[in-house]
């Protein structure tokens, strides 16, 4: 191994490590479910959170005088879990509807999530297969 090779590799390892560490410290968000969020409600406001949730009624969307979307969200995997209110002051994302799973990034203030970013999860390619299917073709049966 040459001296220059080792110096450059070591330099970049340190540089990349510092940059990643600093950026992580300054931008990371807590990932919570609505139930975990409600359980922490007594601790006051929470800044920079990400909540994975399922949209439930009531949903209110108005576009005048400004775009505001209000809805409730609950745990995707727990029907009896806590429900939190969400406010998103922006365009309603495509496919947004009750029953859809969403990713909410924002702050939790006064018992409401003020969403800075809202993404409807795209049920695209990799949905779990429907139960009940069985191999066709050789050995399969209708």
């Amino acid at each position: 191994m040459g001296r220059i090779f080792i110096t450059l590799v070591a330099l970049f390892a340190v540089l990349a490590g510092i940059m990643v560490f600093q950026a992580t410290r300054g931008t990371s968000s807590l990932v919570l479910t609505p139930s975990e969020l409600v359980a922490r409600a007594g601790q006051g406001d929470l800044l920079r959170i990400r909540v994975g949730a399922r949209v439930v009624e009531p949903i209110e969307y108005r576009t005048e005088p400004a775009m505001v979307l209000r809805f409730d969200a609950k745990d995707p995997k727990d029907d009896k879990g806590a429900v939190v209110s969400v406010v998103y002051e922006n365009l309603k994302p495509d496919m947004f509807a009750a029953g859809r799973d969403v990713l909410i990034d924002g702050d939790y203030r006064g018992g409401v999530i003020k969403a800075a970013k809202l993404q409807t999860q795209c049920p695209s390619k990799y949905e779990p297969a429907m139960p009940g299917g069985h191999p066709g073709g050789v050995g399969g049966a209708r």
């Binding site: 191994m1 040459g2 001296r3 220059i4 090779f5 450059l8 590799v9 970049f12 540089l15 990349a16 940059m19 990643v20 950026a23 992580t24 300054g26 931008t27 990371s28 968000s29 807590l30 990932v31 990400r50 994975g52 969307y61 576009t63 005048e64 005088p65 400004a66 775009m67 365009l91 309603k92 994302p93 495509d94 496919m95 947004f96 509807a97 799973d101 990713l103 970013k117 993404q119 409807t120 999860q121 795209c122 049920p123 695209s124 390619k125 990799y126 949905e127 779990p128 297969a129 429907m130 009940g132 299917g133 069985h134 191999p135 066709g136 073709g137 050789v138 399969g140 049966a141 209708r142």
Partner: protein, 669 residues
């Protein structure tokens, strides 16, 4: 048809297994004959034919609405146009795995055809490793994600569930196949690398043979990634093209490593160094494609794409361990033959700059991988899951990318081995001064943000170095042919004679154009929300938007309302465009989507989204994005893909000596 498709898939599995095992047996026999190699070649081509029959039968089932097959029922319905019935083949996990196998087998068949000129002891191992990749993905498809399963129902349902409306888009026809061609293409360099180690053919020839195949994979991957960004830009209505989502990152990681390899491979060809480094990059690139597949099918991380928490993730992890394990074992076994022939002598040399380029690309790769896996790490070490988003990726990657672009200007210009101060000044003083003038002018013009100014200045620096290189080439060419220096004929001759070198410059120029477009669209984007009644106007910057009327449309597939908006120049009221953003409702899926209206221009894109129509049906709420220089992002990508294609083209073999190196690439870059 399900029986036939399933049978063809079974046949594929048997043939791929045969190819893998026979390759090892023939490879271990030093007296392996040409006839045996021919058997392996034919076997590999047969795998492709069998997979073609399998995917063809699935396509036939889609087109003929055979809802006895669960997969067909789940991803299509009778009202879908036939083109979406075809694209629905890869609309779900099962079919996408079958497409993966088919494209991978296609690459393997092409390599098999081209391998008649390769060294005889190398071929059995090459065929074995290629077939082993196909075998793995066919095993998954056949036993875990078989798309030919019947729907378990008492009678055949009259209509299907239908494809997700967001996927009913023409980009669905081209983006996933392109991306998969990129992913599967990277299995080829891995197989070359492993075959070289296993057969002991570790001279630099294998590197030259694999470089063109790597470029093919890289070009497809580039096209696939950019097409995905373009699709998101046109379809999702948020005015952006890249969100650092895990799915996007999964395709970006192997691209970064492959790009690093395509640079460091030149150092090995020229100087006989970075041998283990290059092998590690190839293995890492292939491992990251498998990792990306694992990521999108394991439910490991949260994404805007709803991943399945399927139970097939562990199989990918197992395979990942296997390919890395085999590679490490072979490297250790051949370590004495992989020693560098010399060292890097100076920091001011092309080899040092290429190494720097590799380190920047690896740093970006590390940062992106860290960002993707941070939720997993944080939960494992602190018990509390945390995540990072766009601000993290921008904070780390923007400075690293700018450094990379800067190196793009230095690398092709600086001398191999060592550059003197005089040479450096001659090459870079004028571009550096030019960049300084550009930066000063931008600040004077009111652009004071640090990164945009730095980005434009670096781009100008690189542009000057590229033009300088072209000018030097033209001067020499004109001297040889006694022609005019800056004539198109001289330029064409120069390009033809040094296709690889100038193809690479074209790629770099494409990157430059993309960098300027990304900087402009990030730094100077305008975003507005407003509501208009008919004939009302909204003024923004150089434009005035006026709502004309609403238009309703009903098709078999969806119901839509369009708002017709005239865009005029604020200065002289000239009509620039009539845009028709649309809201669509798909009754079968009960989904609402927005269709963006877009006026693309050289200076900026006007990107309009219909957010809603009020209860009286007379007012439209609209969201407007003005994205400066956005179109140049796509043109830059086209240049990159074009450059990749030009460099990847086979070189005409002029002599029998060269015929021994069938995919040889010029050493001039």
């Amino acid at each position: 048809m399900a029986e036939f498709g399933s049978f063809a898939l079974c046949l594929t599995w048997v043939l791929a297994l045969g190819g893998t095992v026979a390759g090892v047996i023939f490879g271990l026999n030093p007296a392996s004959s040409s006839a045996r190699n021919e058997i392996l070649r034919r076997l590999t081509i047969l795998v492709f034919v069998a997979l073609g029959a399998s995917i063809g039968s699935l396509g036939y089932s889609f087109v003929t609405n055979d809802y006895s097959i669960q997969y067909v029922w789940q991803y299509s319905n009778r009202d879908m146009p036939w083109i979406y019935k075809i694209t629905a083949i890869w609309g779900g996990m099962d079919g996408s795995m079958l497409l993966w196998c088919f494209l991978l087998a296609g690459f393997c068949a092409l390599v098999a055809r081209a391998s008649t000129h390769y060294p005889r002891p190398f071929v059995p191992w090459l065929m074995s490793f290629l077939n082993s990749s196909t075998l793995f993905f066919t095993t998954i498809t056949l036993f875990l994600t078989n798309p030919f399963r019947y729907l378990k129902h008492q009678f055949i349902l009259p209509d299907g569930n239908g494809l997700n409306p967001l996927l009913q888009n023409e980009y669905m026809a081209i983006h996933p196949p392109m991306l998969y061609l990129g992913f599967t293409g990277l299995a080829v360099p891995y197989a070359f690398c492993m075959a070289a180690l296993a057969s002991g053919q570790i001279s630099n020839d294998w590197i030259r043979m694999t470089r063109r195949w790597t470029l093919v994979g890289w070009t497809f991957l580039t096209a696939g990634i950019v097409l995905g960004g373009h699709w998101a830009y046109l379809e999702l209505g948020w005015g952006g093209f890249w969100a650092w989502d895990p799915v996007e990152n999964a395709s970006f990681l192997p691209w970064l490593i492959t790009t690093a390899f395509l640079h460091s491979v030149m150092v090995q060809e020229r100087k006989g160094i970075l041998k283990v480094w290059n092998i590690a990059l190839i293995v890492l690139a292939y491992a990251l494609t498998v990792f990306g597949t694992f990521l999108t099918r394991s439910g490991l991380v949260q994404s805007v794409h709803a991943f399945a928490s399927t139970d097939i993730g562990w199989v990918f992890l197992l395979y990942l361990g296997l390919i890395v394990g085999v590679a490490v074992a072979l490297i250790v076994w051949r370590r004495s033959e992989l020693k560098p022939e010399r060292t890097i002598e100076s920091m001011f040399s092309r080899e040092a700059v290429f190494l720097l380029n590799n380190l920047v690309l690896l740093s970006i790769c590390f940062a992106v991988l860290w960002g993707v896996l941070f939720p997993v790490f944080s939960e494992a070490f602190t018990g509390q899951k945390q995540t990072v988003g766009i601000p993290f990726f921008n904070a780390v990657n923007v400075p690293l990318f700018l450094l990379l672009v800067f190196l793009m200007g230095v690398g092709p210009t600086i001398a191999w081995r060592r550059s003197s101060l005089g040479q450096l000044l001659r090459s870079f003083l004028v571009p550096f001064l030019g960049a300084f003038v550009v930066a000063t002018a931008l600040v004077w013009a009111g652009i004071t943000e640090f990164y945009p100014v730095l980005s434009y200045a670096i781009c100008f620096f690189v542009l000057m170095t590229i033009l300088g290189e072209v000018q030097r080439g033209l001067r020499v060419q004109a001297g040889v042919t006694h022609s005019t220096q800056w004539s198109p004929a001289t330029l064409l001759t120069l390009f033809r004679r040094q296709r690889v070198k100038y193809g690479a410059h074209l790629i770099h120029f494409g990157v430059l154009v993309m960098t300027i477009a990304i900087t402009a669209s990030m730094a100077h984007k305008v975003e507005r929300e407003f509501t208009l009644a008919p004939n009302e106007r909204f003024n923004v910057g150089r434009f005035s938007l006026q709502l004309n009327e609403f238009h309703e449309e009903k098709t078999r597939n969806y119901e839509a309302v369009q708002a017709h908006v005239t865009v005029r120049a604020a200065k002289d009221d000239a009509v620039l465009a009539v845009l028709a953003p649309e809201l669509r409702f798909y009754p079968k899926n009960k989904e609402t989507t927005t269709e963006v209206a877009l006026r693309m221009g050289a200076r900026e894109d006007i990107y309009l989204v219909l957010a809603g129509v009020d209860e009286t049906g007379t007012k439209a709420s609209l969201k407007l994005y003005i994205n400066p220089l956005q179109i140049w992002l796509w043109y830059g990508a086209i240049l990159m893909v074009l450059g990749g294609g030009i460099v990847a083209l086979p070189i005409r073999r002029a002599s029998s000596q060269e015929a021994l190196q069938p995919v040889g690439v010029s050493r001039s870059v």
